[in-house]
Structure formats: C-alpha cells, structure tokens
Amino acid sequence: MRTRFVPVAVDQHIHRRLQDSEGKMFAKVLRQAGRDLDGGAQGVFCFTPDGTLLTFQNVAATEPVLRLLNGALRRCDPAAAATDAPLPADFRLPLPEPPPGGLIVDVTSKVLGGYEGTETRYWQESIGRDHLWIRKDEAAALAQGKFPVSLQQRIACYHLVDNTRGEPPMWEAGEIKQLELTIADGQIRGSVHLETRRGDRGYQAQVLGIIEVKDGQIARLDLVSKGQFWGEGTFTRNSPKGKFPFAVAFRLAAADCAACRVPPQAARLGATEYLR
C-alpha cells in the first residue's frame, strides 16, 4: 500500500455532499462499484488516476484487503495510467479548515472495563480518536491561566463521548448538568456531569491536566477525564451494561501530522457551530 499505491482516506459523510471536481471524481468511482451517494459507500476502492475502477469490496480484514490490492495490481497497466491529472487551479482540501492561529489537540478515548466475555475483546482494546480545535483567542486565554467557557463547553459536548465503537451521539448544551474546569499553577482541575433528559446516557467524571506556557504560547496541554459512563448511541451499540469506567485524554497534536488535518467529528460539515 505504501509503495505500489497512492493511498487516500475519505469520510463519505463529507465527500458525498461535495459538488465540485473532488465530489464528481468520488461519485464516478463509487458508481462503477454499484454504490451511490446515499451513505452506503463504505469500503476499499482501487482505481486508476483517471477514475477507472479496478477492484472494490467492503472489507477491513487483512487477507481480503490483500487480495483486493493484488487484484488491482494485476488489472492495472502502469503504462496506460494517465500521465497527466493536474489539480484544478482553485483546488482546496475538501475539509473544514482549523481556526487560524489556533491549536489542534489529539483526543483519544477508551472504555476501561465492564465488557463481559471474550467476544467483546475488540471493543475492550479499541481507542476512539478525534481532534479538538481551539480558537486563537481561547489559546491566548489558556496561556493566561483562564479556561474559557466556550472551550469547556466544546470539550464537554463534543469530546467527552464514547466513540470507541462507532460514531457517537454528541451532548446538547441542556445535557450539561455540571461543568467546571479551572487552571491554577499549571494544573487543570475540574469535574463534569453530562446526562440526557431521560437518564439513559450519561457521564460523570473528574478532570486533571497539565498546562505549560513558553513565550506566551501553549507548549504542553495534557488532560485526562476519568469517570463513569452509561448508555450508547445508534452507531455505538454494545456498550458494557450499566455504568462503566471511561476515560478521555487530550494532548497537543504533532505539527507535521497529516491526520491532524482531519476535522473534529462534530465539525466535519462545517466548523462554525463547533467553534462557537
């Protein structure tokens, strides 16, 4: 995959809505595989640079993916591959932009216990991944020892979620029962209680973290929330029964990380509401 293909990763939730050249090429490849822009296009697609499909299958396991790759290589004639597929003059990455001058934070999550039996081993080891975007003004406030309310709410609503089994439901503002994050002497402390009106999903946690500032800039931002989670979402079924220990960790993303350009799950169709 690294040397004989050019790999690209796509969130169909974003790409199926694009109306530009990017969206048209995406649709062209999908339709050759018998898929359409209705949200049912998950899988692995191998195609030539002009968008001619070679192989497709909705698989993730190693052996089927290897068969798919080898099949594509057998069908692909490098000499016939397009020699020129220039990018449009107005090309832009088809993803919402992070806030200028802000910070990108890696967010990972994990269920720490509560699964029963060996069949759930995959979920027990699963790490949920996302990014948190921090506005420039919020970063400046953090550097001065203040934890902006807007950032507290963004963390609570969009990142204290169980995304270890799939796309999670986010929290609404009215589901924040209690939230307090403060900074003192380079330490972040706090607590949070999130719960739906029906009480069928919730998270109560303590928060602890470290913040370091150098030359007025945030040099380190490490945060952990740990507590009890309960409930699940439409796409995150099979959570442990009852309340289970659940943790979320935050750390500044590496500057040169390609995956860091992936927008937060809650911002993938636009960042205005997310960054508010």
Binding site: P7, V10, D11, H15, P49, G51, A82, T164, L208, R268
Partner: protein, 98 residues
C-alpha cells in the same frame, strides 16, 4: 444537635446510642472527607499519568501510511508515479473517529 444529610433510619436503642456518642465535628469531617475522596477517586496524579500514557499508544502500522485526504490529490500523484489509487471510505473519517 444538627445532622447534615440524610437522617439515620429509626433504629434500635443501641444504634441510637452509637450515633449520639460520635461528636458532630467528627461526623461532619468524615462525611466531607468521604465526599472529597469519592470526588477524586481514580484520578490521582499517578492515575492521570498512567491513563494519559495508556491512551497515547505507539503509532499503529496504518498511521505510518502516507495517507492523502483528497481524491484529486491522490489521482494527480498517482498519474505522475504511474500507480493506482487505494481509497478507504468510511462513515466518520478513517483517520479519526474509531
């Protein structure tokens, strides 16, 4: 005598005597210490460092693949290098989410 929190249930004489014998300040201190302990339960500094490390696993092999984020960018590069494109499509970004 002022009791904070839930009043004890009606009890036998021996239990009533037991509660009456505990100084109120000791009772309050125990309640407050208990609530502080439960509030910080599981998130000491050591627990924070352990969890932060646990949730920052070493990069998996898939993270070392030079993923592009645009189909057109991938096609442009594939055309130059005369290679096919490998496109992974998921609901939720494959490089984020789960």
């Amino acid at each position: 005598m002022i009791l904070v929190g839930k009043a004890p249930p009606v009890a036998s004489d021996s239990m009533t005597s037991y509660f009456r014998s505990i100084p109120i300040c000791a009772l309050l201190a125990a309640m407050l210490a208990g609530s502080a302990l439960s509030a910080q339960e599981g998130l000491t500094k050591a627990a924070f460092e352990k969890l932060h490390a646990e949730l920052n696993p070493p990069a998996a092999p898939w993270e070392g693949i030079p993923w592009r984020l645009s189909v057109l960018e991938a096609c442009a590069e594939a055309a130059k290098e005369k290679k096919p494109v490998y496109m992974l499509v998921r609901s939720g970004h494959p490089l984020g989410c789960v």
